[in-house]
């Protein structure tokens, strides 16, 4: 019998629990989970990456290297609307030049605009696996992503007001349950347990807390390591942190089909990749009376850089402060915290004056 494949995908926030589920339940392959991203991951990747590429390229490359060192023999890489489309090809070349042996499934190669081609790519992972079973696993995994995004959003909106300190424990427990889940029932059970546990905690939330909305590039904003746990830091300062950008909202549900129409006065056409979503979300936060917006982006991210003049105008029109954060390997934890504290104090002060 042919040996089971050992498949790995680079780390991407906590979404690896769903990716793992897809690989294991959908394709009956083993999933090698690379270790959580760390400075080491970043340095590994950055050492062999081109200088001027955006940071996610370097961190995902580092994560691939760690996965290969952990025993993976197959790496899957996704594609996207910006440079991400080209990540796979260059990363494979770099890994081969480094001397690693592995099989590389670059989904970008199959991204031709026809759905059939993507299915073809999935067959490569395990040709004998039935597509019906795979589809069922995908459905479960999507459910898992929805639960994860839902719980994460709830967590960051409330954990800043929990005096007992049990919120982080519940959230960590929930994540561990998702990584261990092997069936839809287990996924649902984890979600239910987390919700019950959260409900048992008494929060001390003021009637009108400081609310901060976060927008930003697809990777950095969703990956806590890449944004140096921005949401946790803000919550710890005492803010209600909102982030609309997640896989559920942007891919699985995508309920806001006509975002461009709602921002025509700022941008008539899409400015590339996630720009329309970002501008719309920023406006959404502003109209709902949020106290501040933070734009998160990796250094050299093209679409996010291009929308900065739009955000500046939006900030002027709605009189809402916007903090622009750019992340690269040099961004330090303490430096970020200082900036966040200053931003939070300013926002809080404005709120008091307005009241």
């Amino acid at each position: 019998m042919k040996q089971q494949r050992k498949v790995a995908l680079p780390r991407y926030g906590e979404y690896n629990c769903a990716l793992k589920y897809m690989v294991e339940q959908g394709f009956e392959a083993r999933c090698i989970l690379p270790p959580p991203m760390s400075r080491h991951t970043e340095e590994l990747g950055a050492r062999v990456s081109p200088d001027l590429v955006c940071t996610p390229f370097k961190t995902t490359l580092g994560s691939m290297m760690e996965a290969l060192e952990a025993g993976a023999d197959t790496i899957i890489m996704v594609y996207g609307a910006c440079r991400l489309n080209y990540f796979g090809e260059l990363q494979e070349q770099i890994l081969r030049d480094q001397g690693y042996t592995f099989e590389f499934i670059n989904l970008s190669l199959y991204n031709t605009g026809k759905k059939r081609d993507i299915l073809r790519a999935l067959r490569v992972i395990n040709p004998r696996r039935s597509m019906v079973k795979a589809a069922r696993a995908f459905r479960d995994a999507f459910r898992m992503v929805e639960y994860l995004d839902d719980t994460t959003a709830f967590y960051y909106q409330n954990c800043g007001f929990d005096p007992s300190g049990t919120y982080p424990k519940i959230y960590r427990r929930f994540l561990a349950d998702l990584y261990a889940a092997g069936s839809l029932a287990e996924i649902q059970e984890a979600y239910r347990a987390a919700n019950h546990a959260f409900a048992d905690v008494t929060l001390q939330k003021p009637p009108d807390p400081v609310r901060i909305g976060i927008i930003g590039d697809y990777f950095t904003v969703m990956d806590p390591f890449s944004n140096l746990h921005l949401e946790q830091k803000l919550a710890d300062l005492g803010a209600e942190v909102h982030r609309l950008m997640n896989i559920t909202n942007d891919m699985l549900r995508n309920t806001e089909k006509n975002k461009q129409v709602k921002i025509l006065d700022f941008s008539e056409y899409s400015m590339g990749a996630s720009s329309t979503t970002d501008i719309w979300q920023a406006r959404n936060f502003a109209e709902r009376g949020f106290d501040g917006i933070i734009q998160v982006k990796s250094a050299c991210c093209m679409p996010e850089t291009d929308i900065m003049p739009v955000l500046a105008n939006l900030s002027r029109d709605y009189k809402i402060p916007v903090l622009y954060l750019t992340y690269d390997q040099q961004t330090s934890d303490v430096g970020l915290l200082t900036r966040l504290e200053a931003f939070y104090d300013m926002v809080e002060m404005r709120k008091k004056v307005a009241r």
Binding site: R83, Y86, L90, S267, E268, Y269, A273, T305, D306, P309
Partner: protein
Amino acid sequence: MSETLGIPRALLYYRYGPLWDQFFHALGVQTVLSPPGSRGLLEAGARLAPDEGCLSLKMFMGHVESLVGKCDRIFIPRYSNYGYTEVFCTRYEALYDQARNIFRSTPQRFITCNIDAMAGSPEPKAFERFGVELGFTPRQSRRAWREASAALRQKQRASEKAQRALAEKPGMKVLVAGHSYVLSDPYLGGPILDFLSASGVPALRADALDPETARRACARFSPTCRWIVSEEIVGGVLLWKDHVDGIILVSAFPCGPDSMTNELLVRRIRGVPILTLVLDTQSGTAGIETRLESFLDIIRFQRGEMT
């Protein structure tokens, strides 16, 4: 009374200029072109554009500013894609809206031509709509576009032919590869080409090639590369590299597509020395000249012309 359109002499003007010029000429639209790139324009643009934007974006915004108040509308086309697998860098997609936002406090008006095949606006259709917006009939606009795209093709063929003659000449030659708007800009790429010609080394250019041929070559070499302009540069490098003794990859800081395609070229091309130059806002040319000089020395040494 007809209006005057302003055209920034930057970014895609260096690729599609002949097409735009002929299009406006055929329709009888008056245009005003911004002056050639200079340090002043770059500095003005750097004050306006986002800090993290690329050098060429800053230069572009400088050109736009120089046109403010000098024309009725400034023409900033939005080149998005020719189809699912043929796209442009997101920067060109954003240019029009970005400029509108940057110059919002001025009374200046802008006009675009939206080339976005995936959203039902392929190039011929886009120019037809654009012509209609300028006040011409669809028929006149279609005709102007046909003439314009023929003019562009003719220009491309002429530059390829001229280069072929140069490539056949014996002696040492180098290939300069980079975006047309970097190489042809007198302030950005100018010093490089000037230095090469002063050193008596003929310089071939990767962008002097029929775009279709170049893109086909690139598709074989790097299947997931989808940026049209980068494909043309990569294809140009592949097809000219056997005629030269060295390749100089010129890029503007921090160009997104270049950061990846240049890396791939350096990793996959063997047998020809490659120099990578990244231009930034620092104005001196001495650093560039020193690097070019030593690169030429290496080639001469390899050729046995220097001992």
